[in-house]
Symmetry: C4
Subunit: 311 residues, 4 copies
Amino acid sequence: MEKQKEEYKDLGFGTKAAEKNQRLINPDGSFNVEITGQPLSERYHLYHNLIHMSWWRFAMMVVLFYLFGNLFFAAIYMAIGVEHLAGVIAETYLEQFYEAFFFSAQTITTVGYGRISPTGFESSLVASIESLLGLLGFALATGVLYGRFSRPEVKILYSQQAVIAPYREEKAFMVRLANKRRSKLIELEVQVVFTRNENKNGKVIRQFYTLELERSKISLLPTSWTVVHALSENSPLYNVTPSDLFESDAEFLVMLKAFDETFSQTVYSRYSYKPSELVWDAKFSNIFGLTETGKTTMEYDRFHEIEKLTL
Amino acid sequence: MEKQKEEYKDLGFGTKAAEKNQRLINPDGSFNVEITGQPLSERYHLYHNLIHMSWWRFAMMVVLFYLFGNLFFAAIYMAIGVEHLAGVIAETYLEQFYEAFFFSAQTITTVGYGRISPTGFESSLVASIESLLGLLGFALATGVLYGRFSRPEVKILYSQQAVIAPYREEKAFMVRLANKRRSKLIELEVQVVFTRNENKNGKVIRQFYTLELERSKISLLPTSWTVVHALSENSPLYNVTPSDLFESDAEFLVMLKAFDETFSQTVYSRYSYKPSELVWDAKFSNIFGLTETGKTTMEYDRFHEIEKLTL
Amino acid sequence: MEKQKEEYKDLGFGTKAAEKNQRLINPDGSFNVEITGQPLSERYHLYHNLIHMSWWRFAMMVVLFYLFGNLFFAAIYMAIGVEHLAGVIAETYLEQFYEAFFFSAQTITTVGYGRISPTGFESSLVASIESLLGLLGFALATGVLYGRFSRPEVKILYSQQAVIAPYREEKAFMVRLANKRRSKLIELEVQVVFTRNENKNGKVIRQFYTLELERSKISLLPTSWTVVHALSENSPLYNVTPSDLFESDAEFLVMLKAFDETFSQTVYSRYSYKPSELVWDAKFSNIFGLTETGKTTMEYDRFHEIEKLTL
Amino acid sequence: MEKQKEEYKDLGFGTKAAEKNQRLINPDGSFNVEITGQPLSERYHLYHNLIHMSWWRFAMMVVLFYLFGNLFFAAIYMAIGVEHLAGVIAETYLEQFYEAFFFSAQTITTVGYGRISPTGFESSLVASIESLLGLLGFALATGVLYGRFSRPEVKILYSQQAVIAPYREEKAFMVRLANKRRSKLIELEVQVVFTRNENKNGKVIRQFYTLELERSKISLLPTSWTVVHALSENSPLYNVTPSDLFESDAEFLVMLKAFDETFSQTVYSRYSYKPSELVWDAKFSNIFGLTETGKTTMEYDRFHEIEKLTL
């Protein structure tokens, strides 16, 4: 136990005591940490952003690029002179601009109807550059769309609350998890780290403990998995009380690793529980059953249900 | 042994006793489990579906999208007025609709012959939007086609029946497997889990045992691999009879992990045997030979052949 | 040692005695095995083939598809009637066919100049189908081209010959290997399996031994790596003679695993040595030096050089 | 310790003594090694080059390909005769060439306005070949762009200097590292190898030692990680002096392995420190703090700061 304790002594979060009930891991699995003084240019990664932004923002960005790209090239065609675009049907200046704009759209998408077409060196040159940029732009869009689409997006459902339930002769800390998706998860591994403030030689520092689990690996996740840590004598949670956890600003960090068969990739997921998300003397409701033909069933909509126990 | 037993105690299927000869793992490797109460919107994953649907359904979907997309835009062009599509040759209303439909097809594919071309602001605008959507749509299709095409599709051939054959001084449970594809499989690992109903303190629950194998890893799979579990004293199958297996609703779960060289990815495969798929006192036929030049051969078409032994 | 021997007892090749100096592993790393009786339809995998065929054959295939695709559609346009393709300039039947052919090419590539354009329902419909097929076809080609291009193609250079050289107080079997490519290989692992025919209870069977290596893992491969197996008392090669190896139809199988940084993937490579490729009492020439500025150099063109030793 | 020493005895760099303060690993992680005598054709790998060249060079290459491709095809159209391109508006020979050039651009990008269009067999044939090549070329570009874009580009920030600082009862060698990117790194493993010239039986050879670390693995890297090697009695650095390190041409090689969640791939990074980059009796400045709300902060811009200690 001492060895494990040492191994994850600070988990990369440092040993500075936590304050004001802050979590280390946010509900979406990101780290609750602020990095200051890093220039944006260094930290920013275009692909990372394009892959992780919402579909809504991504669509907006494509539309804006298309709009401003065409406005930009329309302006150039106007500057060269709309008379170098054969076939333009326009009386007013605004109509000429429209025609230049739509000619640009027809060029950048390579649709090229040809009702309007460039004549003369300058407008032909600009059009040939625009169509090249259009092709490269859509090549990029193809890549990014595929990247967004094919990214393994493991969605693990963690029970909204963890429980402390009677377990064999003692008590145990329990968390329930399931796969939200239809992808098959296999070779699952879970690690639970418990962290709290402790007084070491008069200085309050944050300590980290890897909790020993009844089982830390399973081969398949067809339904759900209840992760169990027995509060035995070796556990840092032995004889702990609810107020102990609140006072020491404790947190339970759940880290999951699995192989996603659909995407053929290893995926990771994280979640954490603060003392306020812990229910004492309760157990997860049984959500398993059998159909008439003998098939195992799981009631997904009762996943978070907890039953208070009268001891 | 006790430790292994503990480790895979329920394999993620729970310990509820099985009934009516239901399997845990279907022949295609999926889990025979029903999850109820989950909203479709949460569980549905577009990419997962597009990747896993049959080629036939995928082709149908592309065609329907193309057809209805063009019908939709044709309707818009008609609403704007077919007179804003220059070059339309049509006398009847139906012919006008045809022309609008084919103009739409020429726009969405960016073929843009230009015999028909948009004039005026509205139809030009709609056409520029349609060609953008067309490009993005085909970008998506490119990604999905590649995803479908390049997905490592390990196809393991498992012997239709498992056998219990004499082995050294005792008996052994045996399964034969081979690679259906031309891709090279390397670093193979197999795990066999045996499960049956057991009476524990008057309650019938499902127990899981990882079977000890003669060999659980091989470096290469040039031909076939016969997986062997000796029915020694430590085996949960020691002295078991056919009727024992039927009565306890037993099942043998075979789980394979390998690295596929063609796709450079780790792949997984599963299969299971019920007591009715188990042949006693039989062995797999020898399907290996040598060509005249001394090269090893395997008769693939005799892969499932079993020879009854007269003891 | 006994345990290792057991673990790789047949390596997946079976224990049938080899004959007529046949190798188990071909110089290109494939298995020298013939599988008979498998229907082509089951074994054939389109993507696997498209990825592994030579660039020359791949180019031929693209050209033929393009040619026959256009001939096919040209025939259809001719059948519908060339008068439904507006703008055709042709006097003879052959010229009409040319025009139909080129119209098809302009449609399938979505270039669509529009000099020739479809009029009437049938030819418009066929053209809209053709452009859809064209787009999907090129989407597939994009995916396959990327797959071919981005496939990690580890090229390990193995010394043409292995040597038996004096090593410390004894002798050792040695093989030299290097990376042919500029990609960085890291976390390399090598395994050498020795196989020969042996007489077991009067029956000649093939035995496999994993050879113990002086070092089986290295972190990086900046230059070359000499893999060393000492012929100590525990080695199956202890006191072996050249004629022993020839008579027992021996083979040394070298299996390498590494991580390729350029492709971010684990790669595998195999090679084998028959007794005729083994040089006794020789060592690999020293090909390392230092530049004037102190930088390490390796003479790649002397990689296979061996020096005979006079003992 | 002896075992580890053996395992990485030469790390793949050979045991030739280093000279003139040369590094083994360059600051960008590449190997400081020169391989001579390898034909370029064997070593060159097109994809590797296209993926690793700078964006600037890549853009230049695309532009040059586009330019020369169009010049090439323009020349062919001119050779066939510009009269076979219908719609050309040109008086001088130069203007004819321009028109042929822009027609080529419109063909290769498949924009195909159609103002200029091929008539006659030869120019139609060339145009159909050009549009095929254009499509395949842009398919390749799409793949390469995606490959460049989606390549996991782990950027680890290593402290510019390593320090030797007091640590518990003794001293320790320390290096600080952090993630430059917003991608999440998990399951980090670090290995530090120390190398120096040593006199073995009168011959100076290079020795390699894997340094024992206080902790060599962490689960997450939310902020930074200080890697610590205690200079205990077992360390090859026990009682070493600055001049010892300079004289033996020592180097500390830091090798990091991690899983990048954004790209779902294992990534590697390397760095090295020469004696001149080592600060004695100093420690890394504390750059951690808490916001008013209790959130952990890290001052990235003070990452390299070192404080000299007065002992």
